[in-house]
Structures are given as structure tokens and as C-alpha cells.
Amino acid sequence: MENGQSVWTSIRFWRRSAAWVTGFASALLILLTFDTMGQIKMGTDEDLQKGITKRVPAPTVINHHIDYKYSKKRGHEVPVIGDKEPFFGKEWSPKEARALLHKGKLTVQAKNCINCHTILGNGAYYAPDLTKSWLDPKWKQLMAMTNSKTKEEAMAKFLQHPEKYPTHARRMPNLKITPEEAQAVVAFLKHLSTIDTNGFPRGFSKGVKEFEAGGTYAH
């Protein structure tokens, strides 16, 4: 430049560049936040009946059989909502299911499950990941151990007296969960397993296959 001043040493240039990058990044983050909010919005009972797939299905999903299948298109497992099946011997209305899940959530928070377990990536790995725990084949063993006819019954019994049913090298303490709370927590865990988490936790099915083949089952 004739006067010897370079753009690279101009404070105004750097100020404008910084303002542009910061401003753009802020706008992008706001847009992405709204996009995420739309994606994680809970579906309705109507969606379930019409077979509309939502990342987070309605609470009444607890009235359905839940499967976890590998999707070739997506390259990981996805929850598959199947036919209706009774949950604790009955079909739960949208209002009842919502209240039950709410109670389950409050119990999970009050008992601080994530102090040892992980839920949707939040928590610890001292105890097994709970994100897909409803689909764990180990509950079949628990059904025999607790003398229960259904998986939900076995889970509820285990939650109330975990010290009675040692299934893991690390033992879960008795958290004095009431029968109602246990039922609610099981509903919460069942709903949790229906959330499409893009295959998280990775390798869950691999562990299941190893377990079914009689191998070790480390989460």
C-alpha cells in the first residue's frame, strides 16, 4: 500500500472479522437449538396409533412390545415399537402413562441413579448403562430368580430388593424404593428404551449376542 499500512495490521479489519464470525456462530447455534427442540419433542398417542415414528414416542408406548433391531440403512440398531402388550397387567391411558413416567423420572432423580448408572449418556459407568436396560436379556434370568411371570414384575422386584438378587460383580444397594415407585421406574426405563438414540450405547446388541451365546456380559 502507498501509505505503508497493511490490512493485516488494521484493527478495524480484525474487529469486523471477529464480529462476523461470532455473530454467525451465535445465529447458527440459535437455529440448531430450535432444530434440536423440534427433533426431541415427544410424540403423541395419535402418532403411535398411526405408526408415525418419533425420536421420543408418547408415554403410552409402555403399552407396546419393544424390540431393538439392526437397521442396515442407518448402520445401527433402532427401537421397533411392536404390538400392544399389557404393562403390569393392564393398558395405561395417556393420562395414566404420563403420570407414571413422571413419577418414574422423579424417583430416578431422587434416588440419584446416575451416580452409578448412565441414562442417555449422562451419569457414570460404575453400574450398567440404563439407556436400553429394558431390552437386556438378563431380565429373563431375573424372572426365574424373582419367580415372576413378566419382565416388568421381575424388574420391580429387583428394584425393591436388589441385595436379594446378586446378578453383577458390583452389587446394587437397597435404595428403599416403594412398590409404586418401582413400577414407575420400570415404566420410565421401558420408555427410555424406545427413544431413538442413533444407536447409543454402541455395541449394546453385541453384548446381548455374547450373553445369549453364554459368553461374558460386560456392559
Binding site: 500500500m1 502507498e2 501509505n3 499500512q5 497493511s6 490490512v7 488494521s10 478495524r12 479489519f13 469486523r16 472479522s17 462476523w20 464470525v21 454467525f24 437455529l31 440448531l32 432444530d35 423440534g38 427433533q39 415414528t53 418419533k54 425420536r55 437397521s71 440403512k73 442407518r74 448402520g75 431413538d196
Partner: protein
């Protein structure tokens, strides 16, 4: 792969953009870096006039 089929549960423009890491990189570099060239040449012109 640079472009992969959209497999997200809920279709969205941002979801589509984030499918592969490279698509996001190219997009962000395009929209952030290109206007900076414009800022640069504007400042250069302004300094030249002084």
C-alpha cells in the same frame, strides 16, 4: 463418503447438513470464510483511499 443418503428419523435441513463431517466443514468454511474475503478487500480499498 462425501454425500450419504439421509437416514435421520426426523427430516431436517440441519440434520441433512450434519450427516457427514465433511459436508458441515465445507458449509461452514463457505459461509464463514467467503464473506471474510469481502471484508478484507473492503478494508484494503478503504486503506488505499487514505
Amino acid at each position: 463418503m462425501l454425500f450419504e443418503p439421509f437416514t435421520d428419523v426426523v427430516p431436517s435441513f440441519w440434520g441433512w447438513l450434519n450427516q457427514g463431517p465433511l459436508t458441515l466443514t465445507i458449509f461452514l468454511h463457505t459461509v464463514i470464510i467467503l464473506p471474510m474475503f469481502w471484508i478484507y478487500f473492503q478494508e484494503k480499498k478503504r486503506l488505499g483511499k487514505k
